[in-house]
Amino acid sequence: MSSREKILSAIKTNQPDYQELNVQFKFESVYENLYEKFAEMLSFVGGKAMEVNSYEEIKADVRLHYHDVTNIATTIDELSELADFSLNIADPHDLETLNLAIIEGDFAVAENAAIWVSEKQLPHRALPMITQYLAIVIHKSAIITNMHRAYERVKVNETGFGTFISGPSKTADIEQSLVIGAHGARGLMVYVMN
């Protein structure tokens, strides 16, 4: 008997009697202002939110804050003039020298500042992690309350990969001291388009 058969048959023998699932497992979260809750949580997890009214404002902010930065890539056509780094590459290892990636987020969750990005937004899965700094553009109307709503909204298997990103990469593995920028992005800026 293969291990598969052995395991499955032992499970069948040993699992308890069938138990229906009839418990409430979705809950409402009520926030006065979704954007403010999102911005507050994003700041709590080490990122920064900024309200903008146009792509021009984003460009101006990027030019201000990343003025000496080269190797910038973006997936957003309206921001293409900021980019000096093409994402039209075959091998994700070539992203190694990327300093700033500006990508779109599908939607964001107020309770935890998580932003969903999937292969619909990402030409390379490694993009939001390998870049030194990350900026995500979301629409204000795409901020929802909590994770229950998030999973109603997203079809997680629409593409082969998708991830919720909440803040820049971080670690507290040395004496519980928080350090931003473990292996992924050292900073996360979220532009929230009105």
Partner: protein, 459 residues
């Protein structure tokens, strides 16, 4: 399995020789517990959320067979290769065969407690395969050739100076450097080279979704993503209990997990894998390693509901003062103490006794595992199966005889307060053990019963 070097009590005695260090360890973990409290008190429906997590997992245990079959089918359709491993050895061999098949001899691995449980690193080392753990805490303990002491915070037992010294030796950081920012930066550079040069990456699995055949991996550092998105082969190892029925149930578990673990509202990355990227190969190894046996123990099966948040570690007053290594098992803390006897009763017989049964663990558990009740039940099983020393048995038996007989009890009491010598907490005639750091209570001139008879005429 090897015999343990020290049981929990001796290892704890050792650990407590440096009281300042114990204080630091206790405070550090209590800080994590406090962060957890702060986070969960922001969720008014927290207790209902725990109930939901618990019920979903109960349901999964009762329908495990069908969900696994469904998961396998969907994952296979997604282009993922599924493997089944009856035990740690088979798991390790599968990993090795995949690595060999790629013609490489090194691999990068993000945190997976399952691979710790299977002793994968040691196995691969013997086969000449180099494994680099990419979680910062795991990398630190790996360099020091120590096991992790905590499943979420693997290097929590170390002070920054110790990490600084380790990095000085292994990564060439400045001698005496202790700044976490500086040390983390050094690890970042070192591990970035690793991510960029490894063709095989292994991750654990936090949740596997039967409905879609995909799985979720949660990290803060982004190390799992960095590893697999730059590798040609992604191996994901999972105990079969990681299965959940539907995508919508992730809403419950992702709300529970990070808040319980570290007090974060969610981990930085919650990555959902459904298909290998173009040109990549993806494998999932579904591991039993004693889990089917645990599933067959009605009193203990719900330990398989665990989502590995380690909230029970952080709240445990014993763990905080004994350190993770005192548990001599891959998963320490209260949850480890109810999982480990299933794997090897003789070797882990001390662990269910390494608790005061205070019950805090069960209260913080996001899936409501009755941890302290299982600790109590394991004690009964371990005694019945003969894993408790005969000296202790003898003491308890004579105590039982005395306490079962009113006349014997009275006589014994009068004879110099029998409890002094035979009391529950002084079995093995361990009077000296109590007295080492504690005074005995004053002996009153009469017992309550004697007073009662004198005062009330026994009525």
């Amino acid at each position: 399995m090897n015999n343990i070097k020290q049981d929990h009590a001796s290892a704890s005695t050792e650990f407590n020789k440096d009281e300042a260090h114990v204080d630091w360890h206790d405070e550090t973990l209590w800080f994590v517990r406090s962060k957890r409290d702060k986070a969960v008190f922001q969720i008014p429906e927290w207790e209902q959320l725990r109930e939901a997590g618990s019920q979903i997992k109960n349901h999964v245990l009762s329908n495990m067979h069908d969900y696994l079959v469904e998961f396998e089918k969907k994952a296979t359709e997604n282009g993922i290769k599924i493997h089944w491993a009856a035990d740690g050895q088979e798991h390790n061999e599968i990993v090795y065969s995949i690595i060999k098949n790629e013609g490489v001899n090194r691999m990068v691995k993000s945190k997976s407690m399952l691979t710790e449980e299977c002793h994968l690193n040691e196995f691969l080392k013997e086969k000449g395969v180099e494994v680099i753990d990419s979680d910062l805490g795991e990398r630190i303990v790996q360099m020091r050739q120590e096991p992790p002491s905590h499943i979420v915070l693997p290097a929590i037992h170390l002070k920054r100076a110790e990490v600084g010294e380790t990095f000085h030796q292994h990564l060439g950081t400045e001698k005496g450097a202790t700044d976490p920012q500086y040390l983390t930066e050094a690890a970042r550079q070192h591990l970035r080279d690793t991510f960029l040069s490894r063709k095989v990456a292994l991750t654990g699995v936090n949740f596997a979704i039967a409905e879609t055949g995909g799985f979720v991996v949660c990290t803060n550092e982004g190390n799992a993503d960095m590893g697999v998105h730059l590798a040609d082969v992604h191996i994901a190892s999972m105990g079969f209990e990681k299965i959940i029925p539907k995508v919508e149930h992730l809403g419950v578990f992702l709300r529970l997990l990070a808040r319980s673990a570290t007090g974060q509202p969610i981990t930085t990355f919650s990555s959902h894998f459904h298909k290998p990227r173009a040109g990549q190969k993806m494998h999932i190894i579904i591991v039993d390693n004693g889990r089917t046996k645990q599933l067959g123990r009605p009193d203990f099966r719900n330990s398989l509901k665990c989502i590995r948040c380690a909230a029970c570690f952080n709240t445990c007053p014993v763990y905080r003062r004994s350190g993770g290594h005192s548990y001599h098992t891959a998963i320490a803390g209260p949850i480890g103490s109810i999982l480990a006897p299933n794997l090897d009763m003789a070797r882990n017989a001390d662990l269910p006794f390494a608790s005061t049964l205070c019950g805090s663990c069960s209260n913080v558990c996001p899936v409501k595992i009755d941890i302290h009740e299982q600790l109590y039940k394991w004690r009964q099983v371990l005694v019945q199966e003969g894993h408790v020393s005969s000296v202790k048995s003898l003491g308890i038996k004579s105590m039982s005889t005395i306490l079962s007989s009113p006349s014997f009890y009275r006589t014994a009491g009068k004879l110099g307060r029998f409890l002094m010598k035979n009391s529950p907490f002084m079995t093995n005639n361990n009077l000296n053990v109590w007295y080492q750091h504690r005074d005995m209570p004053d002996v009153p001139k009469e017992s309550f019963r004697e007073w009662f008879i004198r005062e009330k005429g026994g009525k």
